[in-house]
Amino acid sequence: MNIPYETRRRSLFSCLYSLRESLPGLLAMFFIALFSNNLAGNPNPLTLENLFRWLDAVIGPINHQPLFQILNSNFVWNPFLMGLVIGNVFGVPDCWKRGLSFIHILMPLGIIMLAPHFMFSHAEKAGLPLILAAFAVMLFTASLTMLLGRLLRMDDRHYATIAGALSTGDPHVVAILMPMLKSKGGQVINALGCVLLFGLVTSFLLPLLGHALNMDDKAFAVLSVFGVGNTGQTFNAAFGYSYEAGHWAHYVEPVRHALMPAGFLFVFFVMFIRARRYPHAENVMATKAHKTLPLFIVAFIVAWIAVQFHIVKEPAHLAIFELVKWDFSLAAAALGLSLPLREIAQWGLRGVVLAFASGLARLAVLVGCLLAAAHFRFPII
C-alpha cells in the first residue's frame, strides 16, 4: 500500500530513506572511511593514509616535504580515491545508492561544522596591509576566473567551482561549493584535478622564478601562499626556495585560511544573484536549483560570524574538526563510489586551460606587487 509522504511524516527526518533502505550504502561509505583515514576513534592502522605515509617515507621527502602531501593526499582525497576505484572497478549495486544519497546531508553538515576552522584573529598577526592585499588578490582571481570561464564557454558550475578553489587556494573548496552551486560530481572532481595540477606545476617552477628575481624570503613566502595555495604545494614551493621562506609560508598560511570563506561565499553569491537575475537563461545552471538562499549557508554564515567572538575554544574546535573529518570522509567515499570516470572526463581540458590562465595571471599580479613592495621598501610582514 502506498502511504502518502504527508501521512507518514513524523519529523524533519521523515524525508530520509529508512535505515533498512540506506544501510548498505552507509556501510559502504563507513568502511571506505575506516580504511582511508586515521579517524578519531578508529583504531585501524591499515589505512590508505598510513600507506601513503609509508610510501612518503620510502620515497623520501621532496623539498623536505612528503610527496603525497604535495599531491594533496588528505582526509577528503583518500576516501574519494578509494571510492572511485571501487566504484569504477567493481561497480556500485543499486541497494547502495539510497545510502550514498546521504552525501546531500553530509556535505552541508560538514560545511557548517567547518565554521570554527576559519578564525580571522589567527590572521591578524600578519598585519592589515597583507590581509587587504590577500583579500584583493582573492577577489581578483575569482572574478577573473569566472570571466575567463564565460569566455571559454564553459558550464558555469564548472568554472565557478574552479574559481572558488583557485581563488581561495584550497582545492577542497570544490567539495564545499558542490552543494552550494549544485555542481555535478564530475565537474567537482575535474575542477579539483585542474587546480591540483596547476598547484603541482607551479610549486616546482616558482622557486626558479623566485631565484631569477632574487626575491626576499618573506616575499617569496607570500607569493607561495597566495600564488600557489593548497597547503602542501605552498610548502613545497616555499621550502624549495629556502628554509626561511618555508617558515614564513607557515606564518602567512593562516591568512589565506582565515579569508577562505569570503572567497567561496563571494563565488556563491555572484552565481546566486546571477541565477536570480537570469532565471530562464539556459546557460545559467549554478545555484539554479536553490529556490531561496539555502538554510545551510545561512547557518554557516551565522556560525562563522559567531566563532569570530571566540565562542568555540581551540580544544572544542579540534574536536569539531575530528567530526568534520568523519563527515567529509563519508561524503567523499559516497562521491567516489557514485562517480564514473567518464563523468570526470566529459568536462574536458578547458578547466586546465582556465586554471592555468587565471592562476598565471594571479602570479603575475602578485610578483608585480611584491617587487614593487621591495622597490619601495614596504614591509610585507
Binding site: P45, W54, A57, V58, G60, H122, Y243, G246, P315
Partner: protein, 965 residues
C-alpha cells in the same frame, strides 16, 4: 746544520704523531660532531613504553649513531666503532622480570645476564681529558675543578662506550669525608656559617664506586674505579608460553611433556619427549617472585631450567590468576613488591639468542656487540652493535648495511647508511634507510654539504649525554631562526598561584644571546677567568581566556644574573646587575637547618598544563630552597632515595643525595650507598629511607641574607702608617699602624666633614685565617671595614693577595655600596623583589634573581610590561604583546635597551601559544632548563626545520604501536 737536522727530525716526528694519533683514537665514549644532524623519528627505529611482569614501566628506544667520520677526497670514512646501533631502556633490564628490550626493531625479553664488576686501578688524567680506562672503551672524564678554602675538588663522569653517562660526581681527597659528619641533629633554624666543608674521596653509586687518591686543579689520580659490566645476555625473541602448573602432573608443550613434582625446595621440573620415556632435562627450580637478589650469580641458577639443544628456558612464575596465558599487564601503577596472591605458571621462553660483550653479533660478524650496565643497579641498560672494521663510502660503493636483524619474515639488514653524493671534501647527500625501506631526509640539510657523515637518528637517552659539550650551541643555533613550538591548548586556564621553585614550560622558546642581556668573560684579582652572564626567564604564565588576558603569576618573571661559579668577596669579582658590571663587596649568610621531618616521594601529577604539582616539596627557609624526593629504586629490595635541593629558580642544586640504609659491601651486598650524605656545607642525615618517603633526622644548607656591591671599580690603596687616601668625595681612609708578622692593620675611616670617625683593626691575616679564605664570612668580615650608612656606605678591605708591600699596607676601597637583601623590594625598581641565591657548598652568592611579587596582567589595553629599570631609568627589557585574540597569542616579542638602542627579539609566538614562558640570554640557570628538555627541544628543532608537525603515530608507526601493545 745540526740544528736544521734536529728541527727536521722533530717536524717529521710531529707530523707522524699528528697524523697517526687521531686515526688511532677509538670513538668509544666520544661525541659526534657538535653540528651533526639529529632526526628524532624513523619508523624502523622504535621508541615505545611497555610494562614488565610486575607492571613496572620500561621506556625503550633505539637509535643509530655515526661519529668520528671524515669526508675527504670523495670518500666518507667511518672508523671501527664509528657506526653504532643503540638499543636502550631508560630504567634497566634484569632476569626474572620479563623485562622487554628491543633487538634491531624486534620486541624481545631479557631472560638472563652474566654480570661482573670491573675494577681499574691507578688512573691518572688531566683536566678536560676523556681518558680510556679499559679495553671495552669506558672513559673517565675530568670535567671541572673548583675550590673551597683554596683546596681543590673535582667533578668527573664515567662514560660508557656508547657515550652515555648518568651523572657527574664530585670527589676530593682534600676535605673531611662523609664518615666525619658529626651529629648535628640538635641544630634547628638559622645558625651561623659552619667551618667544615665535606667532600668524600669515594663516590658510592650502587653497583659503582670511584675513589680518588690525589688531585689538584689540573690533574687527578684515581685509586680505583669499580663499575658493573655485563658479560653475556640472553634474550627471548617471542612471547613466552605460559602453562598452568599442575602438581605431580605434566603439561604438553609442543611434542614435549613438562612435569612438575613438588619438593620442599621448590618444584622438580622434568622435560621429556612426547611419550614421557626420554628425559631431556630435569632440575629442582623455585618459583620466581619479585625479590631483586634472585638474579645474583649465586642465586639465579635455582630459578630456571634451560634445556640443552631445545631452545627452551623454563621458569615458574607466581602470577595473579587473570594473568594466566598472557604477558599483558593491564594496569598502569607500579607493583614493586610481590603479588598478594596468584597461581603458579610454567613460563617457557623460546627463540633464545645469547650475545656476548665484545663478541660478534650472531647474525652478522661485521658487527661487535656491546652490553652496557646501569651504573646504579648493574643491570642491562644498553645494547650496542658497532662496525668491527672501518669502512668507506664513495662513488662506487655508496652504502653500508647495518647489522642483520632477526625477523619473523626474513632476516635482513636493520638499516642502511647511504652517502650518494660526495664531492671532494664535502658530502651533499646522505641518509639512513631502515628495515622497512623508509629513509630520513637528506642529512646534509643544505647545499653546502658537510665535512663528515656524523648523525644521530632515533631517541635514545644517550643523545642527551653525548651532546653535553655542544647542546647549548645546537639549541642556540641561529640557522633556522628562533624556534617556537606551538602550544597544546587546554579547555581550562592553566593557573599557577606562584611559580617559585618551578621550572618554565619545557616548550618555552629559547631566544639565546640577545643584545641587552650581557655575557662576557671577566677576570678576578687572582687572574681566574669566569663567564658572567644575565638573562630573563618567564615561567608559569598562562592565558586566562575567561577574562581575555595573559597572566604572569607571582615569581613568574625573573631576571637572573650568574657567573660560571659562585661570586666571592675579597677577590674583586664581578657580576652583571641589569646590564652593568657590579663588584661584590661583602655578603651575609647563615646555615638553615631542620630536623625531624618527612619528605614524600615526588610524583609528577600532570594536569595537562605541563606544570607538575609539587605539594611534596619541603621548604628550606623562606624563599630559599626546597627539598624534593625525585627518584626511588629498590636495590635488592632495599629502598634507595634520590633527594634534590631545588633552588628558587626551579633548577636543581648540582649534587643529588643518593641515600640507602643497611647496605654494606663488607657483608657481601652487591650495592652500596651512603646512609647519609654531605657535600660542601649541605648535609642530610635520614632517620629512615623508605620507598615512598624519607624521614630526615637532620638537614642543613646555606642561606644568604644579603650581598653588598658597587658599580664603581674598587681602588687599591697602598698606605704607610699615617698616610691617608680619599674614598670617593665624602670619606677618607687612614692607616694608623700595621703589624706585618701578625697580619694586622689598624685603620681609621672618617667622614670628610668630621661628623663621624671610626677606627678598626683588620686581621689577623695569617696561615690560620687564610685556611678559611675566601669563603668564610667570619674571616672575610675580620678583613673588611664597612663604614657609614645608606648611599654613603663605603668599605675598605685588606688586599689578601699582597697585604704588605715595601713597608706599606695594601687595601681595596669600595664606595657607593648598594645592598641586595633577600625578600625585600629592589632598590632600583621596587616592583621587583630581590631573591639572591646561595651556593649550597660554600655560602657565597650564586645568583641574583629579581622577580615579580604580584601577578603581571597583559591584555589588549595593557599589551606592554617593562622589566626592572636600569641606572638610567630605562627598563632593561620589555614584554610586548603584538597579537592576542583572548585565547591564542599569535605574536609577541621582547625588547631590550642597549647602548641607547632598542633591540627586538623574533616573534616568540610564531606558532600560536597559550603562554609567554621564555628563556632569554644564556647562563647556568637557563642551561639547566635547556638540559632538562634537550631531547624534546632537539626533536622540535628538527620539526621546525622542515615545517612538520610533531611526529604522531602514523604510517608504519601506528601499525607497530598497535601490534605490540
Amino acid at each position: 746544520m745540526n740544528k736544521r737536522f734536529v728541527s727536521g727530525v722533530a717536524a717529521v716526528m710531529f707530523c707522524l704523531l699528528f697524523s697517526v694519533a687521531p686515526a688511532a683514537e677509538s670513538p668509544h665514549g666520544l661525541a659526534p660532531a657538535g653540528d651533526m644532524p639529529f632526526i628524532p623519528d624513523l619508523g624502523g627505529l622504535r621508541r615505545q613504553s611497555f610494562k614488565n611482569q610486575y607492571g613496572q614501566r620500561r621506556d625503550l628506544s633505539e637509535a643509530v649513531l655515526v661519529r668520528k667520520s671524515v669526508v675527504k677526497n670523495g670518500e666518507a670514512s667511518v672508523p671501527a666503532g664509528g657506526l653504532c646501533y643503540i638499543s636502550e631502556t631508560e630504567q634497566d633490564a634484569a632476569p626474572f622480570r620479563r623485562d622487554p628490550f628491543f633487538l634491531l626493531g624486534e620486541h624481545a625479553y631479557l631472560v638472563d645476564l652474566a654480570q661482573s664488576v670491573r675494577t681499574v686501578r691507578d688512573v691518572t688524567l688531566k683536566k678536560g681529558e676523556k681518558k680510556p680506562v679499559d679495553m671495552a672503551g669506558y672513559r673517565l672524564w675530568f670535567d671541572y675543578a673548583t675550590d673551597h678554602y683554596d683546596l681543590p675538588y673535582i667533578q668527573m663522569a664515567l662514560i660508557a662506550p656508547s657515550g652515555h653517562w648518568p651523572m657527574e660526581f664530585s670527589v676530593s681527597s682534600k676535605f673531611p669525608g662523609i664518615k666525619d659528619l658529626p651529629d648535628r641533629s640538635r641544630l634547628e633554624g638559622d645558625v651561623e656559617q659552619l667551618d667544615e666543608f665535606f667532600l668524600d674521596p669515594a663516590f658510592e653509586y650502587g653497583a659503582s664506586r670511584f675513589e680518588v687518591k690525589d688531585h689538584d686543579f689540573q690533574k687527578a689520580t684515581f685509586a680505583s674505579l669499580s663499575y658493573p659490566v655485563i658479560e653475556e645476555a640472553t634474550f627471548s625473541l617471542s612471547r613466552p608460553v605460559a602453562l598452568d602448573l599442575r602438581q605431580e602432573e605434566y603439561r604438553l608443550y609442543g611434542a614435549k611433556r613438562i612435569y612438575a613434582f613438588r619438593e620442599n625446595e621448590g618444584f622438580r621440573v622434568r622435560v621429556t619427549d612426547f611419550g614421557g620415556d626420554k628425559v631431556l632435562a630435569e632440575k629442582v627450580i623455585r618459583p620466581v617472585s619479585s625479590q631483586g637478589y634472585k638474579d645474583d650469580d649465586k642465586e639465579k641458577d635455582s630459578y630456571s631450567l634451560t634445556v640443552p639443544g631445545e631452545d627452551m628456558r623454563i621458569e615458574i612464575a607466581v602470577q595473579p590468576e587473570y594473568l594466566r596465558h598472557s604477558d599483558f599487564v593491564p594496569w598502569s601503577t607500579e607493583v614493586p613488591h610481590d603479588w598478594k596472591d596468584g597461581v603458579l605458571s610454567l613460563i617457557v621462553y623460546r627463540d633464545l639468542v645469547t650475545v656476548k660483550n665484545g663478541a660478534p653479533w650472531p647474525l652478522d660478524h661485521r658487527y661487535i656487540v656491546g652490553l652496557e650496565a646501569n651504573l646504579l643497579t648493574g643491570k642491562l641498560q644498553r645494547l650496542t652493535l658497532e662496525n668491527a672494521e672501518p669502512f668507506t663510502l664513495d662513488a662506487e660503493r655508496d652504502a653500508f648495511d647495518g647489522p642483520v636483524k632477526h625477523s619473523d619474515v626474513w632476516n635482513r639488514p636493520a638499516f642502511r647508511l647511504v652517502a650518494d653524493d660526495i664531492q671532494g671534501d664535502r658530502v651533499r647527500s646522505y641518509y639512513l634507510r631502515d628495515a622497512f625501506f623508509q629513509r630520513t631526509d637528506n642529512l646534509s640539510f643544505t647545499d653546502k654539504g658537510r665535512k663528515n657523515i656524523d648523525c644521530f637518528i632515533g631517541r635514545t637517552p644517550t643523545f642527551v649525554s653525548i651532546l653535553e659539550d655542544s647542546f647549548l650551541n645546537r639549541l642556540a643555533m641561529p640557522d633556522f631562526g628562533t624556534e617556537v613550538q606551538g602550544s597544546h591548548f587546554t579547555s581550562f586556564p592553566s593557573v599557577m598561584p606562584n611559580m617559585a621553585f618551578h621550572a618554565p614550560d619545557p616548550t618555552a622558546p629559547f631566544g639565546g644571546l640577545m643584545r641587552g642581556f650581557g655575557r662576557e668573560q671577566v677576570t678576578n684579582r687572582r687572574g681566574e677567568r669566569l663567564t658572567s652572564s644575565e638573562g630573563l626567564v618567564i615561567r608559569g604564565s598562562y592565558v586566562d581566556w575567561k577574562n581575555n588576558r595573559i597572566v604572569i603569576p607571582p615569581a613568574g618573571l625573573f631576571y637572573t644574573s650568574r657567573n660560571a661559579r659562585n661570586v666571592r668577596a675579597l677577590n674583586g669579582e664581578t657580576f652583571y646587575m641589569l646590564g652593568r658590571r657590579a663588584y661584590i663587596a661583602t655578603f651575609e649568610s647563615t646555615t638553615f637547618t631542620r630536623r625531624n621531618f618527612d619528605i614524600d616521594f615526588w610524583r609528577v601529577q600532570p594536569d595537562a598544563s605541563l606544570h607538575p604539582i609539587y605539594w611534596q616539596d619541603q621548604p628550606l627557609g623562606v624563599n630559599n630552597k626546597v627539598l624534593r624526593f625525585t627518584e626511588s629504586h629498590l636495590l635488592d629490595d632495599r629502598p634507595m632515595a634520590q633527594i634534590n635541593v631545588v633552588k628558587y629558580s626551579g633548577n636543581n642544586f648540582g649534587a643529588p643525595f643518593e641515600l640507602a640504609q643497611g647496605l654494606s659491601r663488607e657483608n657481601g651486598d652487591r650495592y652500596y650507598l651512603h646512609d647519609r650524605f654531605a657535600e660542601g656545607a649541605t648535609w642530610i642525615e635520614p632517620e629512615f629511607v623508605g620507598e615512598t618517603y624519607v624521614r630526615v633526622k637532620s638537614f642543613g644548607t646555606p642561606a644568604i641574607q644579603s650581598v653588598q656591591y658597587t658599580y664603581e671599580k674598587p681602588v687599591r690603596a697602598l698606605l704607610a702608617p699615617g698616610e691617608e687616601k680619599p674614598l670617593g668625595k665624602n670619606h677618607t681612609l687612614k692607616l694608623l699602624s700595621f703589624d706585618e708578622r701578625a697580619g694586622l692593620a689598624t685603620v681609621e675611616l672618617r667622614r670628610n666633614d668630621g661628623s663621624l670617625t671610626e677606627t678598626r683593626t683588620l686581621g689577623p691575616l695569617n696561615d690560620e685565617t687564610r685556611a678559611f679564605l675566601p669563603q668564610h664570612q667570619r674571616v672575610v668580615n675580620s678583613l673588611q671595614f664597612q663604614f657609614d650608612e645608606g648611599k654613603n656606605k663605603v668599605l675598605a678591605e685588606m688586599d689578601v693577595k699582597t697585604p704588605f708591600e715595601k713597608g706599606k699596607a695594601a687595601f681595596y676601597t669600595y664606595v657607593d655600596l648598594k645592598k641586595l637583601e633577600s625578600d625585600t623590594p629592589f632598590e632600583g625598581d621596587p616592583r621587583f623583589m630581590v631573591r639572591p641565591d646561595v651556593c649550597g657548598h660554600c655560602y657565597q652568592l650564586n645568583e641574583v634573581l629579581l622577580d615579580n611579587p604580584d601577578p603581571i596582567i597583559l591584555d589588549k589595553e595593557h599589551p606592554r610590561f617593562d622589566g626592572p629599570r636600569m641606572a638610567d631609568g630605562k627598563p632593561q627589557f620589555s614584554i610586548v604583546i603584538d597579537s592576542f585574540d583572548g585565547e591564542m597569542i599569535h605574536a609577541w616579542h621582547i625588547e631590550t635597551n642597549y647602548r641607547k638602542r632598542v633591540f627586538k627579539s623574533a616573534n616568540l609566538a610564531f606558532q600560536p601559544r597559550n603562554n609567554i614562558d621564555v628563556l632569554m640570554g644564556v647562563n647556568g640557570t637557563i642551561e639547566g632548563f635547556l638540559r632538562a628538555s634537550l631531547m624534546e627541544r632537539s626533536a622540535w628543532q628538527e620539526y621546525w626545520r622542515t615545517g612538520a608537525h610533531p611526529h604522531p603515530e602514523r604510517g608504519l608507526d601506528a601499525w607497530t604501536a598497535l601490534k605490540f601493545q
